[in-house]
């Protein structure tokens, strides 16, 4: 009877235990556990970076060969053009032949500037034409003058903004200010002439600003304008288009890089100011006993509201700049998670007033995950996942920023080449000034005219031909190389983005896979079950004994 009772108990408990498996009780399955471990091991072996790294390395190797082949071919084409110019009889067409080709190319570059005399390679006999030509020919000297003027100004403005008390007036002096910097520009001497000393500005500082700083800035602007070839070449359509692209990209990089980081600093400061105000309020609230203390609390509450509004304003501002927005979201998420850890519990993410406020601000970003926006107290795992997503977004934007920085260098290089080409053509025009055989050059091959020309004309013509060869060699191959670099940089960006996409896959597969493997690794084994049954069996025996 005792034995039957004990056996009945064991069977009942075993059946109950096994039946539970149907509801989802996890019984350990060695086969599944082995398979899960194998999956984890396979995952560890997957070389996520390998595919892109190999493709990147292959592409770099090819790019070298491509660039070299392109530059070599371009140099050969320059040599071929020069040969055609020298040997072909002049003829109009596309492209023209002989000397007419030289004239046609020169007109294409200098014609839009309005400095040539009709359709010939001669400067118009006007002071304006010579002045414009000289600005390009003496650009190096002008740039040096602009540099010295800028250095002098920098010294002045440092002195003005430093000291006790510091100067209070606008301190930016840009020759071509970006629209967002316009409000901070130092006025011109004419603009400041009738102004009275602003309130709060010490007299000595005001005098220094009006008489020294403003004038130094005026000199900088005029010297930099004179040194900028854009003021001359902007009439050239191709140059104007390139210059406009350059300005747009400069503004983008400035917004992405400098302004986003400045905004992040402001966000950090606003967040700290709010946290400090909240801490002061919390302290005062605890101590609130007297009427005066209550008034203090009211005042501190106002201060907290003010600081919260300031933080909200910075957050709103950041939403206009993708780079600033992603940095700000990371900052907010990190603070929320840090607060959560300090409080120590999944349900505590929304309990502190400060954290709740930060959560509310985080939710104002339209791209924050829906479940976070919907939840009053989002689970920590969701916030961690959002942080991972934001970090990936940051990496993507950062890769784009690096590419933009490099493209900026390429665009500047292309702009500089166009300036050099125009300068080269002005030199050629200067050399052609002394040519008296132009009519013969329009009728016979250059080589033939050269052979028959007088000694001085031979020398003049050689100078013109040297100048032509130099223009083409200085411009064509480097321009082709820069255009190639531009394409290649886009290719590198695609590799960077592929790397980031793979890193995302890697992160998003690893976490759940580890969880699945851990699940299969655990569970109720037959041994565990035997132990439980054994323990219950002992209980049964004890029951029997006691009876």
């Amino acid at each position: 009877m005792r034995f039957a009772c004990r056996r009945g108990l064991v069977v009942a408990v075993s059946v109950a235990a096994v039946a539970l498996a149907g509801c989802g009780v996890h019984l350990h399955n060695p086969g599944d556990a082995k398979q899960a471990q194998a999956a984890l091991a396979s995952y560890a072996k997957v070389d996520f970076d390998g595919a892109v790294a190999t493709a990147r390395s292959n592409s770099t190797q090819l790019a070298r060969a491509e660039r070299e082949a392109l530059v070599n071919l371009t140099e050969s084409l320059v040599a071929a053009d020069l040969a055609a110019v020298l040997a072909d009889a002049p003829a109009s067409g596309d492209p023209p032949r002989g000397w007419l080709r030289v004239e046609s190319e020169g007109l294409e570059v200098l014609g839009p500037l309005g400095i040539l005399d009709g359709r010939s390679l001669r400067l118009a006999p006007t002071e304006d034409a010579r002045r414009i030509a000289n600005r390009l020919l003496r650009r190096d000297e002008q740039q040096e003058r602009a540099r010295i003027a800028r250095e002098r100004f920098d010294t002045m403005i440092r002195r003005y903004v430093r000291g006790t008390p510091p100067g209070t007036q606008k301190a930016r002096c840009d020759y071509r200010p970006a629209p967002e910097d316009l409000a901070e520009q130092i006025p011109s001497p004419a603009e400041i002439a009738g102004r009275a000393r602003p309130e709060g500005e010490p007299e000595a500082k005001w005098n220094f600003y009006r008489n020294i700083v403003v004038r130094a800035c005026d000199v900088v602007r005029s010297e930099e304008a004179a040194a900028d070839p854009a003021t001359v070449l902007v009439k050239h359509e191709e140059f104007a288009a390139l210059d406009a692209r350059l300005k747009t990209l400069e503004a983008t990089v400035r917004a992405e890089d400098v302004e986003a980081r400045l905004l992040l600093d402001r966000l950090g400061a606003a967040k700290k100011a709010l946290a400090d105000a909240e801490a002061r309020l919390a302290e005062a609230t605890v101590q609130k006993q007297t009427a005066k203390a209550a008034a203090d609390v009211a005042h501190l509450q106002e201060d907290v509201a003010k600081k919260a509004a300031a933080l909200e304003a910075v957050v709103k501002e950041s939403q206009a700049l993708p780079f600033a927005a992603v940095l700000a979201k990371q900052e907010l998420l990190q603070t929320i998670l840090t607060n959560f850890r300090a409080l120590g519990g999944a349900d505590e993410t929304g309990t502190s007033e400060g954290t709740r406020r930060l959560l509310a601000l985080l939710k104002t970003y339209p791209d924050v995950a829906g479940p976070i926006r919907a939840a009053d107290k989002p689970p920590v795992n969701l916030l961690l996942l959002e942080l991972t997503a934001q970090r990936l977004e940051y990496q993507r934007l950062n890769a784009q920023l690096q590419a933009d920085r490099d493209r900026l260098k390429i665009l500047r290089g292309q702009r500089e080449l166009m300036v050099q080409r125009a300068t080269g053509w002005i030199r050629l025009v200067d050399a052609a000034e002394q040519l008296t055989v132009v009519d013969r050059l329009r009728a016979a091959p250059i080589a033939a005219v050269q052979a028959a020309a007088a000694q001085d004309q031979k020398a003049r013509l050689a100078e013109v031909l040297d100048a032509y060869a130099e223009i083409r060699m200085r411009y064509d191959a480097p321009a082709a190389a820069l255009a190639f670099d531009d394409d290649d940089r886009r290719r590198v960006l695609r590799f960077d983005l592929s790397d980031i996409a793979l890193a995302a896959w890697k992160d998003f597969i690893r976490a759940p896979l580890q969880e699945v493997a851990a699940y299969h690794d655990g569970g109720l084994t037959s041994e565990d079950l035997a132990n439980v049954i054994h323990a219950i069996g002992l209980g049964g025996i004890a029951v029997g004994v006691n009876r």
């Binding site: 080589a447 040297d466 032509y468 130099e470 439980v532």
Partner: protein, 178 residues
């Protein structure tokens, strides 16, 4: 029977604690989603590799074509220069002088940059903190030279009376001692 019920309850609690009723389904669903994700990744990678190989093949063809073109162009140049007397010499001279000038200019620029760098290297870094330190000193001196605010004066008086009172109390206590 009470013990039996306790034992069954123990198993139930143990089972629930070990896994919970929904874990198995969650793991199965997660595994299913994961396997679909890995299949998608695999497909993407295949497409990526195919695309890269196609690109590389196209680029190799372009390089080869440009090299061949260059050879052809060089031949055309030679043929063209043979057509006109004196053209070859003019061509050679113009290219050589242009190359020389470009090389000379580049060498000059590099020499100038090296010279500038060498001169800059001879310069020790100036102590730029001095100005900041002096500014700080000015602030401190200004603080000392300005007359105290009402609040500062009040704080001083409160502190003064506190200390005085403490001293008087101490003196009285001492006097009261037998």
């Amino acid at each position: 029977m009470t013990r039996v019920r306790s034992a069954v309850t123990l198993v139930l609690v143990l089972a629930a604690a070990l896994a919970g009723c929904t874990s198995g389904r969650y793991v199965r669903e997660t595994s299913q989603i994961l396997s679909e994700d890995v299949v998608a990744l695999r497909r993407d990678l295949d497409r990526y590799v195919e695309g890269q190989q196609r690109n590389a093949a196209r680029r190799i063809e372009t390089v080869l074509r440009q090299r061949r073109q260059r050879e052809e162009v060089d031949e055309i140049v030679q043929a063209k220069l043979q057509q006109a007397d004196g053209a070859e010499a003019l061509h050679r001279a113009a290219l050589a002088r242009a190359r020389q000038r470009i090389a000379a200019e580049r060498a000059r620029a590099e020499a100038l940059a090296a010279e500038r760098q060498a001169l800059q290297n001879t310069q020790s870094r100036l102590d730029t903190e001095l100005a900041g330190q002096l500014d700080e000193l000015v602030e401190q001196l200004k603080g000392l030279s300005s007359s105290p605010s009402l609040k500062e004066r009040a704080a001083f008086l409160v502190e003064y009376f506190k200390r005085t009172k403490k001293a008087i109390d101490a003196a009285e206590a001492a006097a009261a001692r037998p």
